[in-house]
Amino acid sequence: MSGTDKNVPAEQTPGTPGAPGNPGAPSIPGATGTPGATGAAGKPTAPSAQGNADKPGKPEKESSASQVVREIMSGSAMISVLAVVVALVIGGILIAITDTRVTTAFGYFFGDPMATLKAIWASISEAYGALWRGATYDPGARTWQGRLGIFETLTFATPLILSGLSVTLAFRVGLFNIGAKGQIILGATFAGVVGFMIELPPGIHLLAVMVAGAIGGALWGGIAGFLKAKTGAHEVIVTIMLNYIAVSLVLYLLKNQLRDPSSSNPISPRMHETAMFPLLLGPNYRLHAGLIVAILAVIVVSWLLNRSTLGFEYRAIGANPRAARTAGMLVSRGYITVMLISGALAGLAGVTQLAGTEKILDADIAGSIGFDAITVALLGRSKPWGTFFAAILFGAFKAGGTSMAINANVSIDIVAVVQSLIVLFIAAPPLIRSIFRIKEARSEGVSA
């Protein structure tokens, strides 16, 4: 919402705090999604009708080289990179000041100041070094799997891509899908039922598992979409509540109908081999064909949003549901279908977890993917390919974070800190600009 037209005095128009200077630049995530604009109140404080006439055209463009440089510097890509940098720096500070070597060395700071600096350097470089090696390539690792962490990165990224797309798609229709977690759980549960309770020939089985997972997720997402469309129930609240209900539901099922009969533990039997994604790089790596599904999903969602009439409806509904309704679009149907598709994508993320890496269903199948999906979608600026790369970055954080936790003894929680900081900074370009003293490409009336 951050700065789209509606709440800004009309005269202010070109470039608002949320929309970075670059004319073609995507507005920030919230701006594209405008969940709030369609939310509780739904009535933007309309600027005076009179004021609108004042809206000017765009100012003329400079053509000097410095202008180009400034545009790049203030563009969204640069903001993203700088946001990552700032977040990593803050993470590094946290790592350093909680490292006993640093605090010990600081104990005699005036006796040997270099020792403190050395300790800080050692602490941060060890941590981030382990992070980097874990996420990409570690020549010192004993196993092949450890050596090429990049494939672990992709493995972690797979469900993040799918669930990130789920959030992204809903965003574009103005819905804030916080329910990826529940949809992943339901998707995995449905997939599990087909995957370990039914026997089917290879190929067909996996396909059936995927379809079942998509249906499970779609069902859970659809509830939120249906309630939003028919009763106006705010999807944020409904999806949060559905997350909790999903956890309880799957726990109940795992204790009863879905429990592995040979065990008294609340976990399911193992998936049949025919129901699982083939490993892409042999048994040494966990990377599985789910990644291909995820990439296909990116392509499909990208087409859907940008090239299809359905996507056109979605974008129109997301930006201005009332105008969409007046233009003959069925807004409520849009809400329902988008939540079905969004849920199905999250459900597929559940499938890649279950049939790709975990093989056994338990109540924890969604892990932190559900919430990571939101940050991934935000970092990806609600664009399919943006989401794809954001998911890979977060996959790298995850893969590297494991290595950092074990090899540098830095709690993986720091990754959550860094990730959330990245999203905060990206959402507030003026903050990053002020940190780096970047001037905006175009003069504009910002300041609130």
Binding site: G57, R322, R325, G328
Partner: protein, 542 residues
Amino acid sequence: MAAPNVRCTSRDQYPRRWAKTLKLELRGITKSFGTLVANDHIDLVVESGQIHSLLGENGAGKSTLMNVLYGLYSPSSGQILVDDVPVNFSGPADAMAAGIGMVHQHFMLVPVFTVAENVALGAESTSFGGVLNLAETRRKIREISTQFGFDVDPDALVEDLPVGIQQRVEIIKALVRNSKILILDEPTAVLTPQETDELMDIMGQLKAGGTSIVFISHKLREVKAISDTITVIRRGKVVGSASPDASTTELAELMVGRAVNLTLNKADATPGAETFKINNLTVMNDAGQRLLDDVTLSVSQGEILGIAGVQGNGQTELTEAVLGLHKHVLGSITLDGKELVGKSVRQVLDSGVGFVPEDRQDDGLVGELSIAENLILDLYKSAPYSRAGTLNRAAIAKNAINKVAEFDVRAQSSQDAADTLSGGNQQKVVLARELSRPLKLFIASQPTRGVDVGSIEFLHKRIVAERDAGTPVVIVSTELDEVLELADRIAVLFAGRLMGIVPGKSSRALLGLMMAGLPVAEAQEQMKSQSESGTTEEGAQP
């Protein structure tokens, strides 16, 4: 939590409300937003106890100027003087403390608050510990109501009050705050002619009591009727001042900046078959209240039916019901004999209805989408713009180029977002879209609201051209002038009921009475008796 910069009007000043008058002066006020200069070195003097009108087109910068004066915007440069003393307003609180009050065009009332709460807000009487003492506020409201003959219940919820009363509440708000300079921003936009006259009366009383008034309007007739001085603003600059005796044409030219043709040249209608019929139409909201009550009318091919009425008397519901936007609809709406009630919006549009919604920003355009995309907003499913669920970008772009040229939409590129356009150009985009296919019915609500005069002429011509092409046209406007200008017949709605349908050349006074709730027969009766007794009201001249 009390914001420290709020200075509540102290009670001992209150009796002296009329004791003193204030003079207001603006020197070289400039206000720019980024590259846009909304106000350019504006000088203005409002003598104490005078009504000073600020005349200008929509978007000329009048509201911006008044927001500067009221402390809502801080000027980029220039100075404000109250009684020759320079003042510096950091917020409305300062302006109020200096004795300036404002009645905004869009009322600044909290709908879920009572009248008393709204009046108290920001200038609360409190007892110990910040506990509200609304009794004191109620007393003040009653006092002012008595003085001016307002009938305002301090305990009514504002959202339940008609707009006319809400405006009174706004005036009370300003008076309670001891305002000696009152800014009225387009106050007549929501009033019937009779209510407008009453407002003029009140303004007269206030002036007599010593209050200076800044009256902002683009309606020449009103400005001429009430002002002591008139200042005309165009494109952010003062272009001249005039006395109330100046002719309407002079003022109009000053305001628009060129010779304008105030009357539309249109041929008389040649109505054909009555293809669009509304029978006993009733529209209800979810709570079961009748927003439109048993309305029956019909429109012929090649005819413009104007629908007049004060805002909020069922016009919106009427047009939206035709489009299929309302859930609870009784009665029938037929087009070429086909029933429209119960059809989806898509089906209604597909049956040949062109629709221009009342609020183009909320309902007519998707601001974030490009102009090209907005030009196919309700055509995207039909050839050539899409095939098999896939958009045809080339066709969309080509259409945009054609339409932008045809309707003279001033944009850098048709790929720009629609909300980068000015109001007039946005309206052109909506009309270009709706008029670009074969129509069996054309409905336009407030087709020229917020549009500059140049564009108004153009848009009016397009609408008449559509009529002349044989399409039944329905125009809804709260601007009586516009209805009088365009319509071949005029229907008047009040409180959701049809007061009657009269010829397009009917008198303003008759329409005013109907807009105030008199059925056509009674209104004509009253007109007759008034002309007999010779007390023709000021607003009665057409």
